[in-house]
Amino acid sequence: MSILDWVILTGTLVAMILYGLYQSKGQKSSESYIMAGRQMPWYTVLLGIMATQASAITFLSGPGQAYSDGMRFVQYYFGLPLAMIVIAAVFVPLFRKMNVYTAYEYLDQRFDKKTRLLTGILFLLSRGVSTGISVYAPAIILSSILDINIYLTNVLVGGLLIIYTYTGGAKAIAQTQKIQFTIILLSMAFAGYLVVNALPKGVNFQEALFLAGKSGKLNVITTNFDPNDKYNIWSGLIGGFFLALSYFGTDQSQVGRYISAKDTKESRLGLLLNGFVKIPMQFLILLLGALLFSFYSFQKAPITFNTKAETLAAQQAGMEYQNLKVEYNLLTERNKELATNVVALHGTPNPVSLQKNLDELKQTQQQIDANRADFKKIIKEHNIQAEANDTNYIFLHFVKNYMPMGMVGLLFAVVFLASWGSISAALNALASSSFLDFHKLVVRKRDFSPEQELKWVRWHTLGWGIFSILVAMLATKMSASLIEVVNALGSVFYGVILGVFLVAFFMKRIRGTAVFIGALIAQLIIVLIYIFDGVGFLWLNLIGAVLVLLFALIIEETLRKKSLQKV
């Protein structure tokens, strides 16, 4: 990276911290710290919701996902608009009416303290660990590409944001998220323009799409029903609906964003507009990846986009790597020729020749994929200390090698800002929940003064910040498969938490003890299904929620019958 890029990168990050500190002024009570004084307009809520959901990995893995697997990942978001409708219609008025600080506080009013504690603990457990992983995931990529020590990168990704999150709470988070997400969207749009601009002479946007489409990368909709397949229209609509309902309806990092709005109308508008823009935004991010695929068809894609992995493989795997590389180079050379032929023949009255080239192109692409898979095997067999899966490296490889000076620094800053946006909201949610749903409720029951409360929530924020960095540090010692397991923790707990809320909203007859026991049994079953790899993770949300409804109903009826018999 050039000096200008480093200046832009560090300048953007320093400016963001200073802006966060500026927005931290006037914090006098826990209400202003946790709820931003309940003064947020709809556009701040909207950008806050989007910035909280979109972590750095969203912007890195999106293009990478489309490059390797095509655009079908967008189906994962199909249930989201429907979930926004349910949350705006049912969840928001109830949360606002009860004037709660955390989603779990509502369960205390509806059921009892033990149910509030149980859901609060499930949330803290899953969100706490996954925040650590969302520090580690971009840190490992940035560390590899920028050649910075991983421990230092963990601190840069997860530590600097603590400065303004600690001092300014929800208000500083909402205001910085607004700026962060605007910078991210504008930079990504400009990056898209530069990708199209970087295509070789004679290849325009339409032809790049044609090539990507014929290579199977524009498969937005897949209709096959397979419970083990993560991304198809059914898992997206049904599983995605329950995932979005759990995430936006019961995860405090999201609930905290929209209940800090001025009134019910502003909360609803923020949520509904998120439903309108989320899918098109994901579509465009994935389209960027499909265009990158076309770009690299003419530029000879590297055998891995994680350059560090290739350097280490060259040193440690010797001849095995060299032989593979020779074969791979020949294949990419042929691939380039065929892609050029296909684009040249597209639109000419020569369908037979076009088809012949397309068939050979597909075969070559399959061989390239096989070679890339062999390279991953070399990484694993030789125990090379680098990520074998290079999906998340694809976009940044392009940025680093083909973007103009200045833009490289800005896009690396985007990765940091995206991380900060989602991690800061998570820290605020964790601190609010651990203080209100646990500390205040269990550890110290007497009332605090507003100043004491503010002091304590700040300590909780700092504590969770340090915890997430420690998890990120620990993750550097974990194997890739263990990290995947930790990352999937959210889906293991979300369904059950959602089930408890659905019982609270829609099954007025059911009381605290029944839902508490039902949730415990359902959670145990979900963990077992997860361990034995029963179904794709999106379905766990639906199964978890349904199991809680079912068990709560059965237990309630049993308890009522028993009490009747006693009478």
Binding site: V74, F78, P81, L82, M84, I85, A88, A89, L209, F210, A212, G213, K214, L218, N219, V220, I221, I233, R268, L272, G275, F276, I279, P280, F283
Partner: protein
């Protein structure tokens, strides 16, 4: 009382229009994606 009820039903209609528009938007997007997938297949 009647004024309050009228205001309430007006507000309910207002939000219903939002919910229907969002559901229709999802349908439009899915139809577009079907077309997109088939067109570039």
């Amino acid at each position: 009382m009647a004024v309050l009820e009228q205001k309430d039903s007006k507000e309910r209609r207002y939000w219903r229009r939002w919910y229907v528009s969002l559901a229709l938007w999802l349908i439009v997007l899915i139809i577009f994606f079907f077309w997109f997938t088939q067109f570039y297949k």
